[in-house]
Symmetry: C2
Subunit: 354 residues, 2 copies
Amino acid sequence: MRELGLSVTVDRIGNIFGVRPGKREGPPVMSGSHIDTVGTGGLYDGNLGVLAALEVAAVLNDANLQTEHPFCEGVRFQPDMMGSTCFQGGLPLETALAIEGIDGKTVGDELTRIGYAGDQEVGFPVKAFMELHIEQGPVLEEEGIRIGCVTGVQGISWQELTITGVSNHAGTTPMRLRKDAGYAAMAIATGVRQIAKDMGGNQVSTVGSLTLHPNLISVVANKAVMTIDLRNTDEALLQEAEQRTQDLIQRVTEAEGVSYSTRSLARFKPANFEPAMIDMVEAVATEMGFSNRRMPSGAGHDAGLICLNAPTSMVFTPSVRGISHNIEEYTHPEDIEAGANVLLQCLLRLLTSP
Amino acid sequence: MRELGLSVTVDRIGNIFGVRPGKREGPPVMSGSHIDTVGTGGLYDGNLGVLAALEVAAVLNDANLQTEHPFCEGVRFQPDMMGSTCFQGGLPLETALAIEGIDGKTVGDELTRIGYAGDQEVGFPVKAFMELHIEQGPVLEEEGIRIGCVTGVQGISWQELTITGVSNHAGTTPMRLRKDAGYAAMAIATGVRQIAKDMGGNQVSTVGSLTLHPNLISVVANKAVMTIDLRNTDEALLQEAEQRTQDLIQRVTEAEGVSYSTRSLARFKPANFEPAMIDMVEAVATEMGFSNRRMPSGAGHDAGLICLNAPTSMVFTPSVRGISHNIEEYTHPEDIEAGANVLLQCLLRLLTSP
């Protein structure tokens, strides 16, 4: 950012901004993404949108173009979209800074340690926001389409479910007398899949994490901790999936005679982008001759939070075999070029509009 | 053992024997059990049978009784019934010594390290074998019965199943395109429970261990490693359970488009004790006024291996709430006393018979 002559600031939750001034003062057009990814992730998730926005700034510099509005590039800091959530006003700063990580350290202490506890207050008006991102799913590649014009972000419901049963000997405990926390967890997990199948449409449901205790071959598990990830583009349907899951948990745990507790890990409503912004992405992609389609995002994105306060859309590029959150994540260079050019043209329109 | 004046030997697989001579030379009457238990186990599993046999030797000493036959007490060393298996001739010594533990160290090296690589050859003729053990199940307590006259040991089939799918983003991958190793594992686990329910009788089935990779909330698992524990008192039914489980694995993995491999961790046929030995336990318990019932053992025991070469039975005492392989494992002192007295009287009959 400094090499590109941007004026760099860091806010108190660690969001990093680089501003390229326009003719006017006032809310900037903003683009960016996140530089972290999941523990097993690849190279593209997040970073693509950061590098593409930097490339747009470089192109503006090379063309010596003074835009109408300032251009601002932001990246977020962990955990999941916390920077964007604070920026958008969805989480008080002091609450976020006090959050403990799995290692017991707080966000605030860690930001100070790495030198990213900035002094800028969190949040400012944004004229418009654009984010380039890999699709992280298989749809564009399957249909042979180059550009996704993103209509919004799926709502996300994450919960952790802890089931407590009775640990016992696997050989001597008749089936009818078992209170098997592991069985209950696995029956719920398969039921969660069935709910997604029954609901159809955009409903997706995943149990990606399950830990049994004591996790021994010959011992009925007395404790199971699992996560349930539910997503839908429609808030009413997402609530239906949550309710069905709750009923399932109730039914299975009662039948097995085990107890349970749940804890919400995240809950984001579906976000719908502004129609004019989606139209613009579609028009630019079509004018540039790139095959394109409208589609919702299945993954959560910073744009899904920023859009609550500013006109927003996203540009998706295909993910090879739909693989993401995986070291094999890959997007072809020609697809990246196409996506970055759509981003550039969209930003130019926004930056030079009256 | 030394305090009781027994002559102590250790064999090359670490089995420890204390011999109290009788009037005659020749095969001894033997009693004992194991001193290890599972990682989360309690105080009684195994140790009770070792301490009870020591107590019998102490009683014989206190009574200054010279028995007809020598009395020998043995305990086994880890892993699962390896000492008894070698003693019985079911596993070559050199194979056992070369087995690597989960820490990569071999049985032989560890035996040498702790000073229990004895110089006695493994295995010798035994006139009869008796083992006192906690039931490790809820049946005796439920029925208010003090002594279990054990008729045999359930057959055990242990396998490890590894399922390989494709790791992917939980939000963007449509349900129909998933190759979810975790889902396949959990569907198999619930199916394994259903097989036990459908078969009824003495069939028990447990998935006590399941590990997902990468085990993250928002990532479809690409790998699942699970154990399947099947037990039955009837070999044909145990084979039926194995076949049904195999069919289930085939069906579920095909439907999900994931691959799998299996590995046998243990396989013991059901063992039936000699009728005369079971009759003796029943007669002794009844003569002493203890309520008793015949029952198979759901757990594996050293007696289940020794019985292949020598007349064998076991005495069970109740386990409170059927809990075993758990730190809460408990047996009331009066039940232990009753069980140890039945053991004593059975051993006296065997030791003093012509």
